[in-house]
């Protein structure tokens, strides 16, 4: 059961501890700095924090016995001489790390391996606990990679990395926008997945093209890996065949088709949580009420969970990495753009407020 939360915010990194049944802010780190995401590696206890210093670029820090040490940040390869590439706005695409948006441990059989997803779309791997990184060339050089576009950010962002628990060479990624991709040979080759998703922000020729899909978040049920859930820009999609094909959840069943995060129960593939927002051009909770929705039947029905969450003039947006579920499948946490942090200890039935006054929250994870 997760007794500690790690919270990455616009202005620092916070530990939140369960003490005598109550959740309270404990140690703080990197106060004032922009923390885009963090990883608590359960294989060895190390922690990693990604910082964006703006002028000074993106940096990575790793915990050690003395606190923190700066380690190498993922670095894009030198652009080949004469190579020209433009982003969707016609500007030269800079091959430089603009943001770290995913930090994920490799399999249990590869203890030093970490995966790192970035903007503008590069996937990196470390085999030495982050001391050094190399870009996954086959993905970055994939001819279709240049068709990826910006989603929430100007640049394509690689936000979800899922390592197959039974075969560490199989890795799923998801990109906003660029859809879902899979390698089955440790990154040497990549193929697109995600038939059946639908994008309503592109012309009809592209609507059903897997590469045009703005996947906001991809998760897999560890005990039933065929089951994957997607919170997409314009819908919730569910797969029963490891993302080969998806079925759209009937929009009439949900509060809103728009949202960022999704979490799936570790043992029950039919149970999943979402944080709906008014779609797209507004991105605020419906009627000023922050809610979490839960399905327990694979998306046939959804419950709207409100107890303990603000139900008046709440404008909290919960980003894609800021909905967390612990390994027991019992405790949840959400962190918002307006600095609200809530924890549930009963699968979302009720929530307790940790804070209303944290900096804007980008990511929450149980440690």
């Amino acid at each position: 059961m997760g007794d500690k939360l790690l919270v990455s915010t616009r202005k620092g990194f916070f530990e939140v501890d369960r003490v005598a049944g109550r959740w309270q802010i404990g140690a703080t780190h990197f106060l004032g700095d922009n923390v885009s995401i963090a990883l608590a590696d359960q294989r060895d206890g190390r922690r990693y924090v990604a910082l964006d210093h703006g002028h000074f670029g993106v940096k990575l820090h790793r915990s050690n016995a003395d606190g923190w040490e700066e380690i190498a940040a993922p670095q894009y390869p030198a652009k080949p001489e004469g190579h020209t590439e433009h982003d969707m706005w016609g500007r030269p695409l800079e091959w430089t790390t603009a943001r770290i948006w995913a930090l994920v441990p490799g399999g249990s059989d590869e203890p030093g391996t970490l995966w790192c997803g970035t903007l503008p779309g590069g996937l990196f791997r470390s085999r030495d606990h982050g001391t050094s990184w190399e870009i996954v060339e086959a993905l970055w050089r994939h001819p279709k990679r240049t068709m990826w576009m910006g989603g929430g950010a100007d640049l394509p962002g690689l936000h979800s990395v899922i390592v197959d628990q039974h075969n560490s060479r199989r890795v799923f990624i998801a990109v906003s926008t660029g859809g879902i991709w899979l390698t089955e040979d440790g990154g040497e080759s990549w193929s697109q997945r995600g038939e059946g998703m639908r994008a309503d922000h592109v012309p009809p020729e592209l609507t059903h093209d897997p590469i045009a899909q703005d996947v906001h978040r991809l998760v897999q049920c560890p005990a039933a890996p065929d089951r994957m859930w997607v919170q997409h820009h314009n819908g919730i999609f569910v797969s029963n065949d490891e993302a080969r094909t998806f079925t759209e959840i009937d929009p009439a069943r949900v509060v809103s088709t728009f949202g960022f995060g999704v979490a799936v129960h570790p043992r029950d593939p039919d149970t999943a949580w979402f944080v709906p927002e008014i779609k797209d051009e507004k991105r605020i909770p419906s009627d000023g009420k922050l809610v979490v929705t839960r399905t327990r039947d694979g998306g046939k029905t959804f419950e709207t969970l409100t107890e303990g969450l603000p139900q008046s003039h709440a404008y909290d947006v919960v980003y894609r990495h800021a909905l967390a579920l612990d390994d027991s499948g019992t405790r949840l946490a959400i962190g918002s753009t307006t600095g609200g942090l809530w924890v549930s200890e009963n699968q979302g039935d009720s929530w307790s407020t940790v804070s209303h006054t944290l900096p804007p929250i980008y990511a929450v994870t149980f440690a």
């Binding site: 210093h53 000074f56 670029g57 940040a73 670095q75 652009k79 091959w95």
Partner: protein
């Protein structure tokens, strides 16, 4: 000899004391500094070894022109100042 100075705001992350180097261009001056202080490189230059987008370098008070190649010449008595551009927020 060329003097290289760095914005105070960088010192919080990585110590970059004023340094005297031999150089004929901004690139040579920075490379001389980074050879002795390699961690500073990534704070000033991006993955392509170009000046980071919101950084600014002045040579004797004038903004450099070649942000990618850093080929702007420096004189024997020049001061190279590595600063932040306010455009970075």
């Amino acid at each position: 000899m060329v003097k290289v100075v760095f914005t105070q705001n960088l010192q919080r992350h990585v110590a970059c004391p004023e340094t005297i180097v031999e150089a004929a261009s901004v690139r040579e001056a920075l490379e001389a500094v980074f050879a002795a202080n390699p961690r500073a490189r990534g704070y000033v230059l991006d993955d392509q070894s170009q000046l980071r987008r919101h950084m600014a370098i002045f040579v004797d008070g004038r903004l450099i022109r070649d942000r990618a190649g850093l080929s702007d010449p420096v004189e024997e008595s020049s001061t190279v100042a590595v600063f932040q551009a306010l455009s970075g927020g």
